[in-house]
């Protein structure tokens, strides 16, 4: 890069650099002309004081004091933002909801297990694929949400949001939510931990579930596919209890997390029942199979059939129960949301102390 031949060229270079960072408009030319005039006046004033022309170092000091071209352009130019202060809190809320409460759980509880099932036991590839998909999913979702809000910002939707509100439609003051008792939460964590340990021990100690029948029964192939999702659900349940205990002020969390967990449980039960129904009809042993030594005993075959049918019935009953619980909770949630939106309820009285 060549050094400037004289102080005026140095000033021109500076103005050119500031112009580069300013948005192109008539205003840009005006600002550059005015800044240039100001700097020339400063140079002139200093020259008049010293009684001689300034050298490059002295002009450079004036420019340095004025600031780097990029910073000066940022100060001179119009204040720009992608999403303004009115829409930003809503943008932040939506982004958090989409990324943390929808995308991540969907990947952990649905796409992840499906990838594991598809990979046929190759866990490493399945986990890497899931992380890769999650990563691109997060980028695409964040980009889409940002783009939508940037469009809303440009179309001045925030003005409508800021204007269209009515104090009379504000939600009623919420009743003090019943907090879950500490003893209840500690018990839930304890049993959750106990259940998780039991689940982790199962693959090596089938007797923990089959009891004395483990001498002639073995777990069926279906459990190999669904063991990981069941394990993840148990971990999620334990985490939910832990978070509820650690963050008692998150009053929305227990219900939301419970509903999400129930929904995922329902999806998994559905897959399990379907998988069991598709098992070959002649040798229908999806949940438990007979050990090699017991395969020829008619009595053991009958017991295995009863156990498989019982497990299928239990799963169907659990599916029905979770459906009812989910429907009731959804109805309660919708009722709360509707009350909040319509603002029905007694207005809060003003307390003056």
């Amino acid at each position: 890069m060549s050094t400037p031949k004289n102080p005026i060229e140095l000033l021109d270079r500076y103005l050119q650099a500031v112009r580069f960072w300013l948005p192109k408009s008539q205003r840009q030319e005006d600002l550059i002309a005015e800044l240039g005039e100001d700097l020339r006046s400063q140079i002139e004033a200093q020259e008049a004081e010293l009684g001689r022309p300034l050298d490059q170092a002295e002009v450079s000091a004036i420019l340095k004091r004025c600031g780097s071209p990029m910073i000066v352009a940022a100060r001179l130019g119009p204040k720009q933002h992608l999403i303004g202060p009115t829409l930003f809190p809503i943008y932040q809320f939506v982004l958090k909801m989409v990324l943390l409460w929808i995308l991540v759980p969907v990947f952990i509880f649905i796409i992840g297990p499906v990838n594991v099932a598809k990979a046929g036991g190759d866990w490493g590839t399945a986990v890497l694929n899931t992380i890769g998909n999650l990563w691109s999913g997060l980028f695409v979702a964040a980009g889409t949400v940002t783009l939508v809000f940037a469009i809303l910002e440009r179309t001045h939707a925030q003005i409508a949001i800021a204007d269209k509100w009515d104090p009379l439609k504000l939600p009623p003051v919420r009743k003090q939510e019943r907090k879950t008792s500490l003893a209840h939460m500690v018990c839930e964590i304890f049993f959750g931990f106990f259940g998780l340990t039991w689940l982790l021990l199962l693959p090596h100690h089938p007797g923990l579930i089959l009891g004395p029948a483990s001498t002639f029964l073995r777990v069926g192939p279906i459990w190999h596919t669904f063991y990981l999702p069941i394990l993840l659900l148990a971990v999620a349940s334990l985490l939910r209890s832990g978070i509820t205990l650690a963050r008692p002020h998150w009053v929305w969390f227990p219900r939301a997390a419970e509903m999400l967990q129930e929904l995922l449980g329902l999806i998994m039960l559905n897959f399990m029942i379907n998988a069991a129904a598709q098992a070959p009809g002649g040798d229908w042993h999806p949940f438990v199979v007979l050990a090699d030594a017991a395969k020829n005993s008619a009595q053991y075959i009958r017991i295995a059939g009863i156990v498989n049918a019982s497990i299928l019935l239990s799963l169907a009953a659990a599916w029905l129960g979770v459906c009812i619980a989910l429907a009731v909770q959804t109805w309660q949630l919708l009722r709360d949301v509707r009350e909040r939106i319509s603002g029905t309820g007694q207005p809060a009285s003003l307390h003056v102390h």
């Binding site: 205003r27 600002l31 002309a33 005015e34 005039e37 001179l76």
Partner: protein, 126 residues
């Protein structure tokens, strides 16, 4: 030794934060005062550099990046009028108060007097 390092580090962080808070509050305090000072100075026509110089001589320094956007804003609000004119063989943009600016400045000065009186009273009572 470690304790000394931690205490020194804590004090440095605390001093930096406190200086930052002071700078932000000072900027907030200056913002309104600068507008008032610029409008008052522009009762007489001036261009950017002489305006900055006049303000600096009275103890209120303002950099180029703050003054020129402020002048643009006041002009777009109709409080100032500007004109490019040649002086000493150079084109300069001269600013002066518009009739609306005169009126607004008088209102602002009354408000300033009122705030100043109140603040003096509050400070005397404290």
């Amino acid at each position: 030794m470690h304790h000394t390092v931690y205490v020194t580090s804590y004090m440095t962080t605390s001093t930096t934060a406190s200086a930052e808070i002071f700078e932000n509050l000072k900027l907030e305090l200056r913002r309104g005062c600068l507008t008032l000072a610029v409008l008052t100075q522009l009762r007489n026509e001036q261009y950017g550099y002489t305006l900055r110089k006049a303000l600096a001589e009275d103890g209120l320094e303002i950099d180029e990046g703050t003054l020129y956007p402020l002048l643009r804003r006041l002009e777009s609000q109709g409080l100032l009028v500007s004109q490019w004119r040649e002086e000493d063989k150079r084109n300069k943009r001269f600013y002066r108060l518009s009739p609306q600016g005169e009126q607004t400045l008088n209102q602002l000065l009354s408000e300033w007097q009122r705030i100043n009186t109140s603040l003096s009273k509050i400070l005397q009572e404290a």
